[in-house]
Symmetry: C2
Amino acid sequence: MKPVTLTIGELAARSGVAPSALRFYEERGLIHSTRTSGNQRRYERSELRRVSFIRIAQQIGVSLERIRDALKELPEGRTPTKADWTRLSAHWRSELDDRIALMQRLRDTLDGCIGCGCLSLQSCRLYNPGDELAAQGAGPRKLLG
Amino acid sequence: MKPVTLTIGELAARSGVAPSALRFYEERGLIHSTRTSGNQRRYERSELRRVSFIRIAQQIGVSLERIRDALKELPEGRTPTKADWTRLSAHWRSELDDRIALMQRLRDTLDGCIGCGCLSLQSCRLYNPGDELAAQGAGPRKLLG
DNA sequence: CTGCAAGTTAAAGTGCACTTGAACTCAAGT
DNA sequence: ACTTGAGTTCAAGTGCACTTTAACTTGCAG
């Protein structure tokens, strides 16, 4: 009968993340393991969920540092419940909404520019949305931030 | 009366991109300059449009290498016309559509998972959309690609 | 003509997210 | 017992997109 914990290879296979990346995540405090008497890592099955969460957050465009901070919200000591994950998921949901909104703003403005070919900074809404920054010479900074 | 060309500092100020970045773009073949007798760079005003294009494409998530390849489509010798830029803009517009679609897919599936807290690989649609890859053990690879 | 901000180069450094390599140990099948 | 695949550590390497540094030159205002 198989033990409930996973080796690093098993976790890698199930999550689609390389063992080297898992060690790296652990070093950075994003995931945790216990060790066997022979010093090998063993992962709780719940770590799989953590890895999943990390990959989703990366898709959304969040850095490992910010992901680590978010994961610190999870309870120490006990396995996170459905409610714990739901709360974090909801947090990324709004991150994602923000990014989608940014992309759509970019697209809509690009649509406006396609007809005129006006990709220059002086007058193009793409760089100076609302033109309030037009005189300050800051360029794309606003959209980029 | 001011000459029509821009110094690197002027281009930097107008585009919101650091001089060091502009030199880097030039080294990588994304933009071009002529030199004064004293070896200083001078930029055509049309280079401003190139820089704008580069920043937009980066926002969309395109690498400098792919941006350079796209810019190679622009005519050599003559200043790009409205039509030239329109063609390239349309190309990025579809890139952007793709990314927005990916984000929305991610969001919709995350919505489905928020209620159940099921961020695990075995059954979650977020990792195995349509479940066709579920047996292959590839994990997030499909959405990540 | 002088002073100084702005420009030049090549090489090295930065931050992020990992990967690779070397040298070694562990676990499991025959 | 032996072999082999999987695991371990630490250090160094990779790729991208720049930035910084050092030593030096230009160009313009006064």
